[in-house]
């Protein structure tokens, strides 16, 4: 694996799959509108090579006013799967901390799960985000430490496998103090110890 480690992120090239392409396409619009966002969860493992499909790509975005959201809505050449218009999407979903789902026209999967920051963990993901330069395309992802901790917290087999994959890829570069700090704050020290034992 050839990755250039930047001061605050990663630069690399790969043969893009449809999840990479969809993420790049969506994030290029967020970049254009200068929105503060971060891609989180399962796509992080997939970005770095985990070989599994996914139904969605999760994106957390800093809260914005309706005017800005409408600008985004108009630029997205996608179907919104759970709202018919920008007003419903904003007022019925985003401000109520519900996610919007966007897919390509006439398709259902994969889709982008798009939501406003709703708690301190989301805020931490935004504040600690890392830049990815993938085949010259720029987007932002959550830190590997936060990604691993949160996957252990979620705790399904799939989540624990994702955490294990990201850990194995980056174990020589992880900030273990930070990772274990998240583990303590999430109150999952026992789960973490069990997970680590399974990795040996």
């Amino acid at each position: 694996m050839e990755i250039e480690y930047l001061e605050n992120g990663f630069k690399f090239e790969k043969e893009l799959n449809q999840l990479d392409e969809f993420t790049i396409e969506f994030c290029s619009i967020l970049n254009e509108l200068k929105l503060n966002y971060v891609v989180v969860s399962g796509y992080i493992a997939i970005l770095f090579g985990r070989n599994r499909a996914s139904e969605d790509i999760d994106i957390i975005v800093e809260k914005m006013d309706f005017k800005k959201f409408e600008e985004l809505w108009k630029k997205l050449d996608l179907d919104c799967l759970n709202a018919d218009n920008s007003e419903d999407a904003y007022k019925e979903y985003l401000v109520n901390n519900e996610s919007l789902r966007f897919s390509k026209h006439g398709e259902f999967i994969p889709n982008i799960e798009f939501k406003f920051v709703k708690n301190n963990w989301d805020l931490e993901a935004l504040n600690e985000k890392k830049i990815v330069i993938l085949n010259e395309n720029i987007f932002y992802i959550s830190s590997t430490e936060l990604n691993i901790a949160f996957k252990i917290y979620l705790g399904s087999d799939k989540d624990l496998e994702d955490a294990s994959y990201v850990y194995e890829i980056f174990k020589d570069r992880l900030n273990m103090f930070k990772l274990e700090g998240y583990i303590k704050k999430l109150g999952i020290m026992e789960e973490y110890k069990k997970w680590k034992l399974n990795l040996m």
Partner: protein, 50 residues
Amino acid sequence: MEIELDVKELEGFKEKNFKDRLAFIKKYAEWVKKSTNKEWSSQQKKIINK
């Protein structure tokens, strides 16, 4: 006919299956780290774009 299920035995299988999966993921990650980006990403593309 009633099927007799040994739930404890099934739990054991489940646990072993999960450990096997993690062992495979570890081996796969080691392979990705040793491979060129072109090698692993072209294989990944075949699975994801199915």
